[in-house]
Symmetry: C2
Subunit: 275 residues, 2 copies
C-alpha cells in the first residue's frame, strides 16, 4: 500500500516538474534574444501570408462604413472584431503576455483558469503598453488601399476574418517589442539606465536601433512577398512578375509602420522599466 502511495506521489511530482519545465522553457524563450529573433523572422511569413489572403478580396468598403448592428453605430467590421476578441478572451487568449486586445476594456473572463498564469517575464509597469489603436489606424487607412483593389464582392465576413488575422499578427509582432526591450535591458542595464532616468527618448531610440538589421529585414520581407505571392504553375522557369501583394508595399509596411512602432513600444517599455 505504501509502495503504491509512493509511486502515485512520485508520478505526480514527476508530471508537475515536467509541466513546470515546459512552462518555464516557453517563457525563457521570450527572454532570449536569439529565440526572439527567430520568432520575429517566422512572424514575417505569417504576416505576409495573411496580407496575401486579404488581397484576395477587394476593398469591400461597406464592411467598414455601413451600420450593421441594430441600435448601435457599429459596422460589421467593428462588431466582428469586438465579438471575436470576446470569444477568444473566454477561451483564454489574453492570459498570455504576448497577446494584446484591440478592445481591452470590456473583455470577458476566461471560462477556465488555465495553468498559464502570467509569469512575471515583463516588468509590470510596461507590460500593459498597447498600441493597437495605432496599428488598426495604419492598417485600415494606409495599408488596405495599397494591397486591395477597389470594389465589393460581397464576401464581407470572410474579409473581416481575414482582417482579424492580419491585425492580430501585426499586433503580436509589434508588441513583442516589450520582450525585446526587456532582454536588451537585462543584457546591459548600465547602457540604458542613464537614458531611462533622464527620460531621454532619442538616446533610447539610438541604443535600440541597428540600421544594418533593419535594412536586412526590409529586404527579406520583399523577397518573401515575391516568393509567397507569385502564381505558381508547373513550368520550370517561372518568369512571373505579377504578385498578389506588391513586394515593395511589404517593405514599406515594415519600414514605415512595423519597425517604427516596434521601437516605439520598446522605448515606452524602457521608460517605465525602473519604476
Amino acid at each position: 500500500m505504501f509502495r503504491i502511495f509512493i509511486c502515485v506521489v512520485s508520478t505526480f511530482l514527476f508530471i508537475s516538474v515536467i509541466c513546470e519545465m515546459a512552462q518555464s522553457t516557453r517563457f525563457d524563450e521570450l527572454l532570449n534574444l536569439d529565440s526572439l529573433r527567430k520568432s520575429l523572422v517566422r512572424q514575417e511569413d505569417t504576416i505576409i501570408f495573411y496580407l496575401i489572403e486579404r488581397a484576395k478580396y477587394p476593398r469591400n468598403l461597406a464592411l467598414y462604413q455601413e451600420k450593421f448592428v441594430p441600435q448601435s453605430s457599429d459596422s460589421l467590421f467593428h462588431f466582428f472584431l469586438k465579438e471575436s476578441e470576446a470569444l477568444q478572451a473566454k477561451a483564454g487568449r489574453y492570459t498570455s503576455p504576448e497577446e494584446n486586445a484591440f478592445f481591452p476594456d470590456k473583455l470577458p473572463a476566461p471560462l477556465l483558469q488555465t495553468l498559464n498564469s502570467p509569469t512575471p517575464t515583463l516588468h509590470p509597469s510596461g507590460a500593459s503598453i498597447n498600441v493597437n489603436d495605432k496599428i488598426s489606424h495604419f492598417y485600415l487607412k494606409k495599408l488596405l488601399p495599397l494591397i486591395t483593389s477597389e470594389g465589393d464582392d460581397g464576401n464581407h465576413v470572410a474579409t473581416a476574418a481575414s482582417d482579424l488575422d492580419c491585425l492580430q499578427a501585426l499586433s503580436r509582432r509589434i508588441h513583442l517589442g516589450k520582450f525585446v526591450a526587456e532582454v536588451k535591458f537585462r543584457d546591459a542595464p548600465e547602457d540604458y539606465t542613464p537614458a531611462i532616468h533622464a527620460k531621454n527618448k532619442e538616446a533610447l531610440m539610438e541604443l535600440l536601433t541597428s540600421s544594418r538589421v533593419e535594412e536586412a529585414i526590409i529586404k527579406r520581407v520583399a523577397k518573401k512577398a515575391t516568393l509567397f505571392g507569385q502564381d505558381v504553375d508547373l513550368q520550370e522557369n517561372d518568369t512571373n512578375s505579377k504578385y498578389k501583394v506588391n513586394p515593395s508595399v511589404v517593405s514599406r509596411l515594415y519600414e514605415e509602420w512595423v519597425i517604427p512602432l516596434t521601437k516605439f513600444v520598446e522605448v515606452e517599455y524602457l521608460l517605465h522599466r525602473l519604476e
Copy 2:
C-alpha cells in the same frame, strides 16, 4: 421639381442596376468552369498558407482532449469552433451558398438581412450537401499528426484559431464541388442524365474524373508547399531542403482526401440533380 424627381429616380435605378450586375457577376463566376478552376487553384495557396501556420504550433493535444466548458464535455477546440461559427452566422457568413458550417444545426440568424439572398445557382436538392464531418475527421485524425510535432506549447487559442482557418478553407474548397458538378451538368446534360436516372455512382465518378488534371494538381500543390514553406534568407542561392510542411504530405492531402471528397460531393450533388 419634376426634373429633380426624374433625376433622383434615374440615379436610384442606375445604382440598383449596378448592384444587381455586381451580384449576378459574382454568381455567374461560380457557374463558369474557367472561373471555378481559377478559384480552386487560388484556394490551394490559401490551404497551404494555413497549414504552414498550423505547423508553427505543436500538436497541443490538450486543446482537443481536455474538458474545457463547465457543465459540458466540450473541449476548447469544440467550444471555439462552435462559438466562432455562431458569431460568423450572426455576421451573415452562411447566407452564401459557398459556405457550409461544421455545426449547421443550431446557427443563430444573421443580425442583418443582407442583399446577398441566395440566388438559385445550385439545384435545391443538392445545395445542402455537407461533408464537414468527414473533413474534420481526416483533419484531426490523419492530417494534424503529419504536419505538427508532438508536444504542447500552451498556445491553445491561437492553435484553435489556426485550425478554424484550415478547416474553413478545406471545407470551402471541397464543397465547391457542388458548383463544379452544376456547371458540368449544364454543359452536357445528355452525358450525365442516364447515369443519374440509373443512380450509377461509378459511371458518374468516371465522367467527372480527369487523371491528367488530378496529377497536375497533386504536383502543383507540392511545388507550392516547397516555395511557401522554405526558410527565406537574403542569400542568392538557397539550397534549402527543410520545409515547414512536408510537400509530400500536401500532395497526399490532395490525393487521398481533398480530391476524393470533392468528387464525392460532385457525385452526391448530381444524384439529386433531376429531383
